[in-house]
């Protein structure tokens, strides 16, 4: 019994430390475009506003893209499974464009960026719980060449 309680506590602690509000702040699913340059940013439910952490990530991406001026990118926008399919397609597109706009203000030409939304079609985490959903609400920067 005590074992059960302990493990329950441990799980809770982990998920708490990986989310702020309902925005994912962990690194489980994150890949790196280059050393120290995370490839993705996360969003709150139904939101496309960039958090402070997201803006920091995108500034790192912008700096890296300025140094590697031959690289083009695709921004892939995603939503969690808790919304209607069509609305989520639009939401994913809106999220990817929020990231695109930010990169552009840091000097990345729009001609180097394309955007695609997958809505809820390509989750990275198959769980049906708030932590899994938070990992799936994301915009991922992928090298196009």
């Amino acid at each position: 019994m005590s074992c059960l309680i302990l493990s329950a506590c441990a799980t809770k602690k982990v998920s708490k430390s990986q989310m702020e509000g309902d925005v994912y702040t962990g690194t489980d699913t994150v890949e790196y475009l280059a050393s120290g340059v995370p490839d993705r940013v996360f969003f709150a439910t139904n939101e496309s506003v960039l958090t402070t952490a997201s803006r920091e990530t995108l500034r790192k991406q912008a700096a890296w893209l300025r140094k590697n001026s031959t690289i083009n990118i695709v921004l892939e926008g995603h939503a969690d499974e808790r919304g209607t399919r069509e609305y989520n397609l639009a939401l994913g597109e809106r999220r990817a464009n929020a990231a695109k706009d930010y990169l552009m203000t840091y000097g990345i030409s729009s001609s180097r960026i394309s955007v695609i939304s997958y809505g809820k079609e390509r989750p990275v985490d198959s769980g049906s719980n708030p932590l899994s959903w938070s990992k799936n609400r994301r915009s991922v920067t992928v090298k196009a060449n």
Binding site: R82, T84, R85, A90, E93, V115, S117, E121, V124, G127
Partner: protein, 446 residues
Amino acid sequence: MIFRYLLIIIILFPIKAFALIEVDITRGNLSPLPIAVSPLSIDEKSKESFKNILKKKNIGAEISKVVENNLKQSGLFNPLNKDAFLQKPDIAHLKPRFEDWALIKAQALITGKVTNVDGKLRVEFRLWDVLAAKEMIAIAFTTVPDNWRRVGHIITDKVYERLTGEKGYFDTRIIYVAEEGPKVQRVKKLAIMDQDGFNTKYLTLGNELVLTPRFNPTNQMVTYLSYFRNLPRVYLLDIETGKQEVVGDFPGMTFAPRFSPDGKKIIMSFAKDGNSDIYTMDLESRIVQRITNHPSIDTSPSYSPDGKYIAFNSDRSRYQQIYVMKSNGSNVKRISFGKGLYGTPVWSPRGDLIAFTKLHKGKFYIGVMRTDGSGERLLTENFYQEAPSWSPNGRVLIFYRETKTDSKGEGFSAKLWSIDLTGYNERQVTTETDASDPSWSSLLSN
């Protein structure tokens, strides 16, 4: 193509009998009408010939099984156990002994006869009012043998119409997205099947992601979203020829397509720079018209059956809600004001109701409201379900439902379900694979 070969010959007009039997479909039917479906009789010679062609031992019995299953699934009828039938099928078809049928509590009786006429399948059937001891319908069909299931569906439609006073929905098909593979890497194909789950055909191979297929009211064409070459665009597919083409030349994602009620236009969303608005394209002139122009997400448009109005969902009030506007985009009015988020409005073919998906406190609902937003009624609650599509008579909704995964992320499934407008008769619709995004065709024959 096959459907054009179906000839319907009415040999006898229904006698205007004083109908004692009546099925009320406006309320949840808690005591379905007891009906006896006598196996269609067949002579030995015809039986042998169809056995060779169709690989069915007794095609007469098979057709009556289709009818029986349809009637049962409707929730309005209770097909009686054949073991209790006293009269032989061939004799019952000529002259039923009504006392025998009344004895087993049948109120209605279906009889029929199958023959092979020059290689064609000829089916005649009769519907009898057991208590009034009268014939209600007598019809004969001649068609290619391969069409035998459709004959069963058409018989059901005739019986349903005669007994409920409304058109049926059995000679119809469902187009949907067949799903396979792990949740994080689903493979999706367009699939089409008869309304009762038979005759499934796959229309795409699964090489690219496909979503949200919808029928044209004339049934030959389907519009859907495809990620072909990683460019999400609205496509048009001719089911009979298999020919596909992209709709319009938009510099970005187009999605959420539907046909106008006359089948001449496609209405859809176009996403550009993070903003989705609603557009139409005339399929003949290819003229594109912008319908909404708002910085919010406007999507999931659906025309009223007279083509004068469009329902859609928008987050212009910050959260996803349902709006109605004139078909030129003017007079936008929000109609959903209940607690929660509202999406996927779909106008009933009768024009009086809008079906929708609602999310409230972590649960998803399928519901209906009047077109001004009043009279909201939630039909079913679940962990996840959305995308209702109406049966052509506006009495049944089909939608898809997804299951919650366990702590390891296992146990995901997506299935089609149907429910009556009354909120009763909720049923899973059988599909060969997992399935989502169903769209119900109109009646194939009228």
